[in-house]
Amino acid sequence: MNIFQHKISSGLVTFVAVMVCYVSFTRQPADAYLFPRVVSIFFLGLALWTFIKALMGRSKAGNGLSINMFKNMAPGVLISAMYIFWAAKSLGFYTATSIAFFLLLTSYDPAPHSEYKSWFKRIIITASFVAIMYALFAKILVVYTPRGMFI
C-alpha cells in the first residue's frame, strides 16, 4: 500500500484538527467554546499520533486508492457533483435527476453501447425511477423540490 497516500490523508486530518483547535481556543466567548476545546484537544492529539505513525511508515489500516479506482470513479463522481452542486438547482430537481441517472447508467452499465436494446432499457429504467420519485416525493410526501429552467 502506498505509504505516501497515508501521509497525505493523515496530514489533511491533522490540518483540520489544528484549525479546529486554533478556532476553539481563539474565539470568544470562551464559555461557548468550552466543549469544542475539550474535543479539539483529543482530536489534535489523535490526529498527530496518526500523522506521526504515517510519517514513520507504520500506518497500515485501510487499502488506499489506486489509479484504476480513480479512473473508474471519475465519471461517476463528476456526474454526481454536477447533479448535486449545479443541475439540481439550475435545471430543476427532477430534470437533473433524470439526466444524472441516465448518464450514470450509460457510464457504468456493462451492456454494449452499440445495441439499441441497452439504450431502450436505460431509458425505461430512468423514466421508471423518476416517475416513482415524483409520485413519492411530489405527490405523497408533498416535498417542494427546487425548480430551475424545468421541474
Binding site: 490523508s9 461557548a32 468550552l34 500506518s59 473508474n72 457504468y108 452499465d109 425511477f129 423540490t145 427546487p146
Partner: protein, 497 residues
C-alpha cells in the same frame, strides 16, 4: 407485562401495511449486495417524516429486522454477504447452494433468524424496563460519561485501527458543535451558509453511509466480474423446521451468543455471527463438515445475527448508547420524532415505544414467512447490476436529504460528508463512530456544560466528573474498552508477524 396492552396499535390497518411493506422492502434491500441495514434504515428515515412516531418507528424497526435476515439471500446464493452480519452465513450457506441445497439453506436461515430474533426481542421487552429503572438515578456527569462510552466503544471496535476509530468519533463530536451553541446562542464553525443551522443528523447519516457505497460501486468500473447464478431447487418448509429443531445445539449457541453480543454497545452482528459459527463448530461432533455446506453453520450464524437485533436496542432505549451502527441510525430516527431515549422513556412515551417493540415481535414472524416465499425472487434482485444500484442510491440520497428541511444546503452537506467519508474509509477510518460522535455529541456537550456549571458551585470539575461510585465505573469502562482494543490490536499484529 405492560407490552401486552399495546399490541392493539400494531394490528391497525396502517401499522400492518407498514410492517408488511417494511419487511418485504427490507428483505429485498438486505438481499441486495451493497445495501447494508444501516444504509437502508438511514435512507428510510426521510419517508417517516409525515408519519406518526409509532408508524415511523414500526417501518424502521421492520426494515432493521428484515435487512439483517435478507442479507442471507445474497450470502447463500451469491457468496456476497448482503450485510456484514451475514459474513459467517456465506461459509456454509453458499457451499449448500452449490450442492443444490440453496432453497434448504435459505429456509434454515430464515427459520433460525425467526427463533433467534424472537428470543432477542423478548430479551428487549424484559430487560429494558429493568435497566431503565436503574438509569433513573443518573446525573449530568453520568450521562456525559455514557455518551463518551458510546463513542469510544464503537470507535475502538469498528474502525481499521483503534486510533483512527477514536479519531472518527472526535470528528463526529466536532461536527456536532457546528452551528449555534445551545446555551449562549453563539455561532460556531459556520464557514458556509449551508451550515448555519448546524449539521442535520439525517442528511449526515444518509451521506456517511450511502455515498461511500455509491463511490465504491463507481470505483469498480463498468466491467465488473459477473455474478454466478445458482439454481434454487424446491425444498419442503416442514423439513427445514424439523432440521432446525434437530440442530438444537447450533440454534442455542447462535441465539445465546447473539443476544449477549447485542447487549454490548458497539459490537455488531458481524462479530455475533462469526463468534456463534466458531463456537457451534467447536461444540459440534461433526466439526469436519463445517465449511462444506453443513446446516449447523447456517443455523448458528443466522440465529446469532438476528438474536442481536433486539438486545442491541436495550442500551439504546435506556442509556442512549446504540448497540450497533444500525441502532445508532435508529437513534437519529427516534430523535427526529421527538423521542429522546433515556431512563424515562417508558414513562414518557409508552404509547410509542411498546407498539414499536411489539411490532418487532410480529415483524420477526412476517420476516420468516415472506423470507421463505420471496427468497427466489430476492435472488433475482441480488443480481441487479451495480450501475443501476449506484444511480438509485444516489437519487434516493439526494431526494431523502432534501426532504428533511426542503433545503439544498442539506443535500450539499450530505454530498460533502459522504465523499469525505469514502476517502477516510479507504484509509482505515469508520463511519459508525463518526455518526455516534455526531448523534451523541450534543448529549455529551449539554451534560458536560451543565455539569461544569454545577461543579464550579461545588468542589470543582474533577470531583464532579471523576469521583463517586458510578462515575468511577463509567470512566473505567471507557478506559478498559479503549485499553482492551489497543491490546487486541497489538496481539493481532504480533500474531500476523
Amino acid at each position: 407485562m405492560d407490552f401486552i396492552f399495546y399490541f392493539g396499535e400494531v394490528f391497525t390497518f396502517t401499522s400492518m401495511l407498514l410492517l408488511i411493506g417494511g419487511t418485504i422492502g427490507g428483505l429485498i434491500m438486505g438481499a441486495t449486495p451493497g445495501l447494508s441495514p444501516t444504509m437502508t434504515v438511514a435512507l428510510l428515515i426521510p419517508f417517516t417524516f409525515n408519519m406518526t412516531p409509532v408508524h415511523g418507528l414500526i417501518l424502521l424497526g421492520a426494515a432493521y429486522t428484515s435487512t439483517v435476515a435478507g442479507g442471507a439471500v445474497s450470502a447463500i446464493l451469491l457468496k456476497i454477504p448482503g450485510a456484514p452480519a451475514n459474513i459467517a452465513t456465506t461459509l456454509d450457506g453458499n457451499a449448500m447452494a452449490r450442492k443444490g441445497e440453496g432453497a434448504k439453506a435459505l429456509q434454515l436461515s430464515f427459520i433460525s433468524s425467526l427463533i433467534g430474533g424472537l428470543f432477542g426481542v423478548f430479551l428487549l421487552i424484559f430487560l429494558t424496563p429493568v435497566l431503565a429503572k436503574m438509569a433513573n438515578s443518573f446525573g449530568y456527569s453520568h450521562t456525559f460519561w455514557l455518551a463518551i462510552i458510546g463513542v469510544t466503544v464503537i470507535g475502538s471496535l469498528e474502525a481499521g485501527s483503534v486510533v483512527k476509530g477514536l479519531l472518527s468519533g472526535c470528528i463526529g463530536m466536532w461536527l456536532a458543535t457546528i452551528g449555534f451553541d445551545d446555551i449562549q446562542g453563539v455561532k460556531r464553525f459556520v464557514f458556509h451558509p449551508a451550515l448555519g443551522g448546524g449539521v442535520n443528523i439525517i442528511p449526515a447519516l444518509i451521506g456517511l453511509f450511502a455515498i461511500p457505497q455509491v463511490i465504491t460501486m463507481f470505483a469498480k468500473g463498468r466491467f465488473q466480474t459477473d455474478i454466478e447464478q445458482i439454481i434454487v431447487k424446491k425444498h419442503p418448509v416442514s423439513a427445514a423446521f424439523r432440521e432446525v429443531f434437530f440442530r438444537k445445539r447450533a440454534l442455542a449457541i447462535g441465539t445465546s451468543i447473539g443476544s449477549v453480543i447485542g447487549l454490548i454497545p458497539g459490537v455488531g452482528g458481524q462479530i455475533a455471527g462469526l463468534l456463534a459459527y466458531d463456537q457451534a463448530k467447536k461444540f459440534s461432533p461433526e466439526k469436519s463438515k463445517f465449511g462444506t455446506g453443513h446446516s449447523e453453520g447456517v443455523i448458528a450464524a443466522e440465529a446469532a445475527n438476528n438474536a442481536m437485533v433486539g438486545p442491541s436496542l436495550v442500551p439504546l432505549l435506556t442509556l442512549s448508547i446504540p448497540g450497533s451502527p444500525t441502532a445508532a441510525v435508529l437513534l437519529g430516527g427516534l430523535i427526529i420524532h421527538g423521542i429522546f431515549p433515556g431512563p424515562n422513556l417508558f414513562q414518557q412515551h409508552p404509547e410509542v415505544i411498546w407498539p414499536f417493540i411489539n411490532s418487532m415481535l410480529i415483524g420477526q414472524i412476517l420476516m420468516c414467512i415472506f423470507g421463505i416465499y420471496i427468497a427466489s425472487m430476492a435472488a433475482r434482485v441480488a443480481q441487479v447490476p451495480q450501475s443501476i444500484m449506484a444511480a438509485i442510491v444516489l437519487g434516493l440520497a439526494a431526494f431523502g436529504s432534501f426532504a428533511v428541511q426542503q433545503s439544498m444546503g442539506d443535500v450539499y452537506v450530505m454530498a460533502v460528508l459522504g465523499s469525505m467519508m469514502y476517502f477516510l474509509e479507504r484509509f482505515g477510518f469508520s463511519a459508525a463512530p463518526l455518526v455516534l460522535g455526531l448523534i451523541l455529541g450534543p448529549i455529551a456537550e449539554s451534560n458536560f456544560v451543565t455539569g461544569s456549571l454545577i461543579s464550579t458551585a461545588q468542589n470543582g470539575p474533577f470531583v464532579y466528573f471523576f469521583t463517586g461510585g458510578l462515575n468511577i465505573v463509567l470512566v473505567s469502562i471507557v478506559v478498559l474498552s479503549v485499553g482492551f482494543s489497543f491490546w487486541s490490536e497489538i496481539t493481532a499484529k504480533r500474531a500476523t508477524h
